[in-house]
Amino acid sequence: MTLFGKNKPGLKKARKRDMPDGLWLKCPGCNEMIFREEQEKALRVCPLCGHHFPMNRTERLAMLADPGSFVEWDKDVYSIDFLGFVGEASYQEKLESNRRKTGEVDAVTCGRARLHGRAIALGVMDFAFLGASMGAVVGEKITRLIERGTADRLPVIVVCASGGARMYEGMMSLMQMAKTSGALARHADAGLPYIPVLTHPTTAGVMASFATLGDLILAEPGALIGFAGARVIKETIQQDLPPGFQRPDFLLQHGLLDQIVPRGDLKQRLADLLDFLCGPLTPSEPPSVPV
């Protein structure tokens, strides 16, 4: 930051001229200006400090699924305002503005994919849509994903992110925690692996259901991961939170996570782990077979 400090107006001007809108962005990890194209190529990870920027679901799918292998399930399941919930805006208005903002129908995309050749059931949550809160659509799509995984004997991978329950759906939202967990009981009983990947931020109701029920639990560096909000905890206990609280290193140390995996390693790591859990791919399931 000092490079562009107030006492160097000349430099600031020069940089501004060189920085057409959107070509550069500032990294919240190291406060340096980084070249956007470089950050995109590096899976939206800062090349200087390794800060993991938010990623939308298209990018996530491209990162994890073999090219052309993703077949979406339940694309046309959508939320309705069945409680007639009115806050500062109605739920209906919230849904519409988030659809407009993201171009997506709700907060999760699910489907079948191949990961280095292995068929998997893959779900990706997207914080950009209403904070990836879990309403009936998220709960239903995750449940169907797991149930199909069980029926088709597929490993299930869910890239988790969530601000929690979708309060616009009242108690129906809370019950999605039970529904998804029940589906995971059956998937586990069938001897199939389930691996949630916790990304920034994964909290509250999603955290207290499918995000923490993995055979293995992986997390992205820097992600905020916890049950209660930091502000709520602070207000309740009237004291400051320890450094690194609810962050991956803290949680690894306290025994929740199996591994913290940088984005660039995630696909290969998942493939390796699934090889261990399910046995390596057999020739009868060659990578080239379309899904």
């Binding site: 409680l83 029940g182 009981a185 207290a208 049950f227």
Partner: protein, 335 residues
């Protein structure tokens, strides 16, 4: 019993004061005023019945949190015979905000597990105001698995503002403790019956709430978020909790209509705390009825019924997603 008056009960207080005044006056003067007192008491009953017949959702939340409301241990004392409390999660400690143990209800073996609130500062500190730590959920699961091993039906009594939001809870992974309970409760091949007796506070309540049947007391509530928490998010003002309580559809009749609870246990007008023996009898009878119905199911049917019950929860649509309506045009750009 010293009266504890909720804000909306002020009309009752006025009549109560009149009754007391009349009694004192007649005692001083040596007069017989029993007729007048009886009349006022009838008026009190009628006013109370009218008041409670039209409680707002927020007023019901206040009744559910009434400091004299019967708690888990009160129900256990009232109708559980030979209660053997069992302690500890075998990992760290014994969380007093979740009580569990074996007992008999009218000759039926039951594993009883419930969240416990305190009545005064000392007991509230002991049970952490009814807000469980991860150890509480892990103790509950240990006891539920014990019950399953010996084919004992499980009764859970829910009355908690929620799991405790603190550093220890996060360090010991309260989210994981709740999640594991949700998953494992689907695996227990014995009947599970849950009764929301006061506050059903979000995930902290659901953590012992995956049941074959869910009953709720008339003035209890069950909500995804506290009305105050919801108001803080939506209106940046906890004082709008009354509005949030309306919007959240957290009352017993709302939940019954949404298919999220199976039956409502009626309370005396004035709330459960005004007649503890009566509400205990109501709750006991409702429990017995459900336990006898569930006893008819095979272990496989018990598992299937529980799964289908929660599997069906969710309101959404499927088909061609409706097109977005054009965004509203901001005022200053209108022609």
């Amino acid at each position: 019993m010293a009266a504890y008056i909720l804000p909306f009960e002020k009309p009752l207080l006025a009549i109560q004061n009149k009754i007391e005044e009349l009694r004192r006056f007649s005692a001083e003067q040596g007069l017989t005023t029993s007729h007048d007192v009886a009349q006022l008491e009838a008026q009190l009953d009628e006013t109370r019945r009218d008041l409670y017949a039209q409680l707002t959702p927020w007023q019901k939340v206040m009744v559910a949190r009434h400091p004299r409301r019967p708690y888990t241990r009160d129900y256990i004392t009232a109708f559980v015979d030979d209660f053997n409390e069992l302690h500890g999660d075998r990992l760290l400690s014994d969380d007093h905000s979740i009580v569990g143990g074996l007992g008999w209800i009218k000759g039926r073996r039951v594993m009883i597990i419930g969240t416990q609130k305190g009545r005064d500062t000392k007991s509230n500190l002991d049970c952490n105001f009814g807000c469980p730590f991860p150890e509480g959920y892990r103790k509950a699961l240990r006891l539920m698995r014990l019950a399953a091993k010996f084919s004992i039906p499980i009764l859970t009594l829910i009355d908690t503002p929620g799991a405790f939001p603190g550093i220890e809870g996060e360090q010991r992974h309260v989210a994981e403790a709740i999640a594991v309970n949700l998953r494992e409760m689907f695996r227990l091949p014995v009947p599970i019956l849950a009764v929301v007796i006061g506050e059903g506070g979000s995930g902290g309540a659901l953590g012992i709430g995956v049941a074959n049947r869910i009953l709720i007391l008339e003035y209890a509530y069950y909500s995804v978020i506290s009305p105050e928490g919801c108001a803080a998010i939506l209106w940046k003002n906890r004082a709008r909790a009354d509005k949030a309580a309306d919007a959240l559809k957290l009352t017993a009749p709302d939940l019954l209509e949404l298919g999220l609870v199976d039956a409502i246990i009626p309370e005396p007008p004035g709330g459960a705390h005004t007649d503890p023996p009566a509400i205990a009898a109501q709750v006991r009878d409702a429990i017995l009825k459900q336990l006898d119905l569930l006893a008819k199911l095979s272990p496989a049917q018990v598992l299937e019924q529980r799964y289908s019950k929660f599997r069906a929860m969710g309101v959404f649509k499927e088909g061609s997603v409706p097109a977005l309506t054009p965004p509203p045009i901001p005022e200053d750009t209108r022609p």
